[in-house]
Symmetry: C2
Subunit: 189 residues, 2 copies
Amino acid sequence: MTKTKNTAELILDTAQSIVQDVGFNGFSYSHIAEKVGIRTASIHYYFPSKEDLGEALIVRYRKSFISAIDQIDSETQNNLEKFRKFILIYKAPVQECCTCMGVMFATDLATLSSKVQEGLAHLFTANLEWLERVLDQGRRNGHLNFEGAANVRAHQFLASLQGAQLLAKSFRDLSRFDMIADGLISALT
Amino acid sequence: MTKTKNTAELILDTAQSIVQDVGFNGFSYSHIAEKVGIRTASIHYYFPSKEDLGEALIVRYRKSFISAIDQIDSETQNNLEKFRKFILIYKAPVQECCTCMGVMFATDLATLSSKVQEGLAHLFTANLEWLERVLDQGRRNGHLNFEGAANVRAHQFLASLQGAQLLAKSFRDLSRFDMIADGLISALT
DNA sequence: GTCTATAGGTGGATAGAC
DNA sequence: GTCTATCCACCTATAGAC
């Protein structure tokens, strides 16, 4: 039973997909309004300034990321399989020739409010902590095999997926992403 | 004997540093004009439209990248040492809390002209071809030690450096870049 | 809550004087 | 080549009717 989305959610959905396409400085309220089928004044009713919209976007994005990794944890035992599912989170936007919102906000960082900047750092920290934990557990229980500090590996893993998105987008070639992601999995077995 | 830079070069220098800070959609001609100390009309004299400016930026950027890797090839024999110098190219912008222009253009891709999009793909292809060649040579002459296809490794290497830039920028922490870059070197020895 | 209307500012871009 | 002056389109944001 899917609850009908309210206007604020529709605006955020649309804004996120636009940000992932053209970045936070590449669109205006009129772009959102057109897609949602409302007027720009209505968007200002929910998100008075574009800064407010940015903050709502990153807060919601982090929450939905936390939900996603919680679900992976609850439905998956094998740590290697957890990584495969994590990779799918990063693959999804690439299939629409986009980049995830975290990467978009990271490049736009200098033009974003400090709250959004902090939200982005929190998001990446959540990514890294989860990766480090799964790496650690996986090595201890034998699901994974790698050398060196799990913290460093977590950084390498995340950076690779972010760069893989950029290359796939630039070449409009999903296989570039898969090539890199497959290598990450191979390196853990 | 450094030749005095002409106005067009000053504009491009300034535009590039701004793009690396705020992206192609995060600035206007007035930002460049202010930094260079001229009027916006003068910029339009050299680059009639912002699209023209973008094309000039990516063309010049690719040329300067080719020069950089040519110099590495001419002054360095050891292939591992070549990689260390290549990494420094990607580290430079991070030291100013920026991201290289290739990464910025990659995220802004959807808003750029097709010429800029093609220029970016050419730039990344030049990166990947050089990396693949050095990987191949290094493995054959014993400077490097790794398994799998050099082409795949080249993609992983480049993606990691791009992601490393994003993480370092987001956390304002250069050590995040170093951590990832050091891991790349370790994996080749 | 959503609209119309509009203010006030900034964007890219051009004309023409010097 | 560089400037002043200016155009028009678009942007963010607000006021007030419904």
